[in-house]
């Protein structure tokens, strides 16, 4: 599991507004790639184009190509729904379905895919919750509402929900920004473990987090407010943080702006 992502000359638009310009990058399979950059630089927007979630926002469209191994995500006839079953996503705020139990939250995606059978769903529940380092904390209350967990547990529940459908890629949009430091650490440990099986892309505002967990880091920036965001530099995380090639990158990570 875990596929390579190839992005070529990608422009993202919301209506007439160009939000992201001219991004070309390769994301290696079974690695962690961090997107950093100031607010509004288009990193979250770009992330959403990797599973076509930007299309949920009215007027959202792209030019250019995104390939998952040899599959073009934007080829005619490719269904966004199918893409999202292959490329999972975890959001900024934990969003377990409030009316569902912990168990039902985990299996929600499987049940959407038509997976049936109590025993199979039970196995998947345990497997996914173990995968998300949450099993021991919730195994005695799988029937309780997911919304009753702490923020960090809810976020791990969302990760369990995302990996239950066995995606190739896991996109994470600032998954720790609503969490306390201890929960953040738990998520970071988890992300590092998940790397063995999934291609992971994580957007973060936390520079330490990027340097702690990621193999590669991509720095996004925009020339001015209202201008499209661009990919400034992408390289090994060590290189980006110790010896970046572009001065704007160094200014950003050393805290001189942003």
């Amino acid at each position: 599991m875990g596929k390579r992502i190839d992005v070529k000359d990608l422009n993202v638009f919301y209506g007439d507004f160009k939000a992201v310009e001219d991004v070309t990058m390769t994301i290696e399979p079974r690695s962690i790639t961090a997107f950093i950059g100031p607010s509004g630089c288009g990193k979250s927007t770009f992330l959403r184009t990797l599973n076509r979630m930007h299309e949920v926002i009215p007027g959202g469209r792209v030019e250019g190509s995104v390939r998952l191994d040899d599959q073009d995500l934007y080829a005619p006839g490719v269904d966004a729904v199918g893409v999202r079953r292959t490329v999972g996503m975890v959001f900024q705020r934990p969003n377990p379905f409030p009316t569902m139990s912990i168990r039902d939250n985990v299996t929600a995606g499987l049940r959407l895919n038509g997976v049936k059978g109590k025993k199979l769903l039970e196995e998947k529940t345990e497997q996914s919750l173990r995968g998300a380092n949450l099993w021991n904390e919730v195994k005695d209350r799988l029937g309780k509402p997911g919304a009753g967990l702490s923020g960090g547990q809810q976020q791990r529940l969302c990760i369990a929900r995302a990996i239950a459908v066995e995606p190739q890629v896991l996109l994470m949009d600032e998954p720790c920004s609503a969490l306390d430091p201890i929960s953040t650490l738990a998520i970071e440990d988890l992300v590092t473990e998940l790397k063995d099986r999934y291609t992971i892309v994580i957007v973060t505002h936390n520079m330490q987090q990027a340097s702690r967990v990621s193999d590669k880091t991509a720095f996004f920036n925009l020339a001015a407010t209202g201008k499209p965001g661009r990919l400034i530099e992408m390289n090994d995380t060590q290189k980006i943080f110790n010896n970046p090639e572009v001065s704007a990158t160094e200014d950003y990570i050393s805290g001189r702006f942003g």
């Binding site: 599973n51 979630m53 949920v56 009215p58 729904v81 199918g82 893409v83 999202r84 079953r85 999972g88 996503m89 959001f91 705020r93 969003n95 377990p96 379905f97 409030p98 009316t99 569902m100 139990s101 929600a108 995606g109 959407l112 895919n113 309780k144 509402p145 919304a147 009753g148 969302c158 929900r161 995302a162 459908v165």
Partner: protein, 335 residues
């Protein structure tokens, strides 16, 4: 917009009364605080006093009349205001059945319209639709009732005849001798459904539109289609609101007077009980409206009518309670 049942659409949404009140520890020492606190308490007490006085008045009027009742008040089906024969069984049956059928007809349409406006219609249509539905909900329901009686009912007679002819073997659709085409409980239900449709639609649309984007995106990111997204995120979120809206609609239907009085055939005395929707009869409200003018000087008859009104009051109270139970039962599952 008043509600007989007292359920409000906000019931299912996060309730500020959960958890400690953040204002509880605030200072109440200033003059403004004391004046406002006094006013608020006075208003609250006033409600209690008014309800108590109304209750005492109703009971005082009703009890002597029931005492003179020649037959069993609760179980007898005969209602003769002038003859001191007060039995509410048939009234209760007609009231409940006509309203429940109206609700069954109206809710699926309302939910469908509300979902269309919030999740299928293009933005411009959705905006116009929202305004229109809110406008429609503000029109007194009797206006729809009149439209239902003069426009919908004559056309619906054909549907009713079809049901009678082909599904007459089901007790619910059995033809009742002496009750002609358009004067049936079923027809009343259709008109009541038309009357309560706008309010249920407006309130349902409101709750569906409030579904948090994060819930919807959570479903979509799992690879849900639009309908699956609605099923996983929108409907569960909106469910308590739809229930509350339905109860508001049911309250309106239970209490509706004039439309029912216009449509339903009065039943001849001594008729055998039938469960058919093709029957005539009267509801509490229409019976009261029909009897009251002729019996203004007959204290017993008026007392009996008031007793019937009390039963209607209790009925709506029970409906309200059931709705609350449904909404509360899964509260821990709704944030």
């Amino acid at each position: 917009m008043s509600s007989i049942t007292g359920v409000s659409v906000g019931d299912g949404l996060s309730d500020p009364s959960d958890g400690p009140d953040p204002g509880a520890g605030a200072s109440t020492g200033t003059t403004g605080d004391r004046v406002f606190g006094g006013l608020a308490m006075g208003a609250g007490l006033l409600v209690v006093v008014v309800v108590a006085l109304v209750g005492i008045f109703l009971l005082a009027q009703a009890i002597p009349a029931i005492g003179k009742d020649q037959i069993n008040f609760l179980t007898s089906r005969e209602w003769n205001a002038a003859g001191q024969r007060f039995g509410i069984a048939q009234l209760l049956w007609t009231t409940v059945v006509s309203s429940v059928v109206a609700l069954l007809l109206a809710v699926p349409f309302s939910v469908g319209i509300a979902l269309f406006l919030t999740h299928y219609a293009p933005a411009w249509l959705s905006r116009i639709g929202a305004v229109l539905i809110d406008l429609l909900a503000a029109v007194p329901s009797i206006v729809y009732g009149i439209w239902g009686i003069y426009v919908v009912a004559p056309k619906f007679t054909h549907v009713q005849n079809f049901l009678q002819d082909w599904l007459g073997w089901i007790p619910l659709f059995k033809a009742v001798p002496g009750v002609t085409g358009g004067a049936t409980i079923l027809m009343v239900s259709v008109v009541l459904a038309v009357m309560i449709l706008p309010i249920i639609t407006a309130l349902s649309r409101e709750v569906f539109a409030q579904t948090p984007v994060t819930h919807k995106e959570g479903a979509l990111a799992l690879g849900a289609t639009r309908w699956e997204m609605i099923r996983t995120a929108v409907l569960p979120f909106g469910r308590p609101g739809v229930i509350s809206a339905s109860m508001l609609g049911l309250g309106r239907a239970l209490g509706e007077t004039v439309a029912v009085l216009f449509i339903l055939t009065a039943l001849p005395g001594g008729q055998r009980f039938t469960a058919s929707l093709m029957n005539g009869g009267a509801t509490f409200a229409s019976q009261i409206a029909g009897d009251a003018p002729e019996n203004q000087n007959n204290a017993d008859a008026m007392g009996a009518l008031i007793a019937a009104g009390l039963v209607l009051f209790i009925l709506t109270f029970i409906v309200n309670a059931i709705a609350r139970v449904i909404v509360e039962r899964r509260r821990e599952f709704s944030e």
